[in-house]
Amino acid sequence: MDMSAGLASDLTRLTEALAYPETDVAGLVRSLHDTLTTAISSALGLSITVQVGGVAVCVSTLDRGGPSAGTSLEVPLSLWSDIAPETRVVLYAATPGALVDLAADLGWLLGYEDVLTLDAHLPPRRADEAITGLHELSVIHQAFGVLITRGRSPEAAREELDQAAIASETTVDVIAERLIRGLRPANPPLGR
C-alpha cells in the first residue's frame, strides 16, 4: 500500500501518543489494507471509524485520486467487548458484487450476518483531511485543558462546552475552537 504523506504523518503522531512503543499504527493499517486487497482482487481500501468521547474519528486508506468504488461493505465491530460501541469498518471494492461472498463469510464468522450491509456507503466520503475528526477531537480536548486550568473538573469542562454549544446552536468543536482562538489569535491547533 502506498500511504499518503498526510495519513502516514497523522498515524505516526498517533503512534507517538501510545505508551507502548512496539506498536506502529501506520504499519497495522497498512497490513490490514494489504490483507484486504489480497483477499479481494478489486478491493480499493477501507475506512475505520472509532468513537472517542462523542467524536467520530475516521481513518481511510482509500486513494482520493483512485478508481471509483462500485461496492461497499459495513462491518460493525461491537461483538468484541474491548471495542467501543459504534466502531465500524467499511470495506470498498471497484467491482460491483465483489464483496458479496466476503459479507456472507464475515457474517457467519461473527455470528451476525443480518447486520452487515452492502452498498450503503456509496460513493465513499472524500475528505480533505487524512483522518477526519482528529482536528475536532484535538481542539475539544485542548479546550478541556484550558477550562481545567480555570478550575473546572474534566466533567464540568465537558458540561460547560456542551451547554455553550446548545445555547449557540452549534457544535462542541466550534465552541472549543472559539475558546482556543480567544487565548491567542491565529494559533494553529495541534495536528493541522
Binding site: 494489504d34 456472507a104 463469510d105 457467519w108 450503503a120 480536548h141 485543558g145 478550575g151 494559533n187
Partner: protein, 270 residues
C-alpha cells in the same frame, strides 16, 4: 441497502461435501466430510485468530489419511509470520525450515502448488532440511499452498512419521480441504487485523486526548500556541526519558487536583 445473501463458508464447504457424495467412495472421504463440516462451523466471534488456525490445522490432520500433525503458516511481506501447529513436533519441524530458509512449505509457496515427499531423510530437494526432519522421526510431508485468485498468502504443512504416508489420494483430499480452509483462514485474518487496528486506534486516540488536554493546559498557563505546547511536552518527555502520554497524564492530573481544590471559575466564552 442490501442484506447479504446466505452464501458463506458453510455453503461452500457443503458444496465440496456434496461433490464427494457424488463421487465413488475413496479412502478418507468420510473424514474429509467431517472435517469440512467442522471447518464450516468455526466462528471468529468465539475464537482468536491463532486458536482458529490451530483448529484448522487439527481438522486437516483429521481429514488427510495417515497425517500425524499439521501446521499453518501465514506469509506477510514475503516472510513467514503467524505460525501455528496441531502438535509440538510440527512446531519444531517448521522452526527448522524457516530457520534455514529451505523446506516443503517454502517450496509450496514459491511454486504455488502442492509439494509431497515420502522420504524426507534422503530428499534431494531440501538437503539441509530433510535429514534434520528425518532425525526427528518425521519422514513424510504434504505442503499445500493457501491460495487466492491473486496469489498465495500462506501454506498448510501436514506431516507423518511413516515413510510414504501420503499417496495421490491423500494429496487430492488435502487440496480439497485447503480450498475452504484458505477462505476461512483469510477471512479470519481480515477480522483479526481489523480488530487490532480498531483497538489500537481507540487506545491511541484516547491517549492523544490526554495529550491535547495537557497542550490546552500549557497554552492557557504559558501562552504557547498548540504546536509550541506540543513541542514543550515532547521536550519534557525526552529530558525526563518518559513517554509523552505519561508526561501529559501527570500534567493533567496535577491540574485537575488544583482545580478540585479551588472554586474559582471563568467561562467557555461562548
Amino acid at each position: 441497502m442490501k442484506q447479504t445473501p446466505p452464501t458463506g463458508p458453510l455453503q461452500r464447504a457443503d458444496a465440496v461435501v456434496d461433490d464427494l457424495s457424488q463421487a465413488p467412495p475413496s479412502v478418507g472421504a468420510d473424514d474429509l466430510q467431517a472435517s469440512l463440516s467442522a471447518l464450516a462451523r468455526l466462528s471468529t466471534g468465539k475464537l482468536g485468530l491463532e486458536e482458529l488456525l490451530v483448529q484448522v490445522a487439527t481438522f486437516a490432520v483429521q481429514a488427510i489419511p495417515h497425517a500425524d500433525g499439521a501446521g499453518l503458516t501465514m506469509i506477510e511481506h514475503d516472510r513467514a509470520d503467524t505460525i501455528v501447529a496441531s502438535a509440538p513436533f510440527v512446531r519444531e519441524i517448521d522452526a527448522i525450515q524457516y530457520g534455514i530458509g529451505e523446506g516443503p512449505c517454502i517450496s509450496a509457496v514459491a511454486e504455488r502448488s502442492t509439494v509431497r515427499s515420502g522420504s524426507l531423510g534422503g530428499e534431494p530437494r531440501w538437503p539441509r532440511f530433510g535429514p534434520r526432519a528425518g532425525r526427528l522421526g518425521v519422514h513424510s510431508v504434504l505442503s499445500l499452498p493457501l491460495l487466492t485468485p491473486d496469489g498465495v498468502f500462506g501454506a498448510m504443512n501436514v506431516y507423518a512419521f511413516d515413510k510414504d504416508a501420503f499417496d495421490r489420494n491423500a494429496a487430492h483430499i488435502g487440496e480439497m480441504f485447503s480450498i475452504p480452509a484458505a477462505i476461512a483462514v483469510q477471512n479470519a485474518q481480515v477480522l483479526a487485523q481489523t480488530r487490532r487496528v480498531a483497538t489500537t486506534l481507540q487506545a491511541a486516540l484516547s491517549a492523544r486526548a490526554v495529550i491535547d488536554q495537557a497542550v490546552g493546559i500549557l497554552m492557557s498557563r504559558a501562552g504557547y500556541s498548540a504546536d509550541e505546547a506540543f513541542d514543550r511536552l515532547r521536550h519534557m518527555s525526552q529530558t525526563q526519558n518518559t513517554k509523552l502520554a505519561v508526561v501529559a497524564r501527570s500534567i493533567v492530573d496535577e491540574a485537575v487536583r488544583r482545580a478540585r481544590s479551588r472554586h474559582t471559575g471563568g467561562s467557555a466564552g461562548a
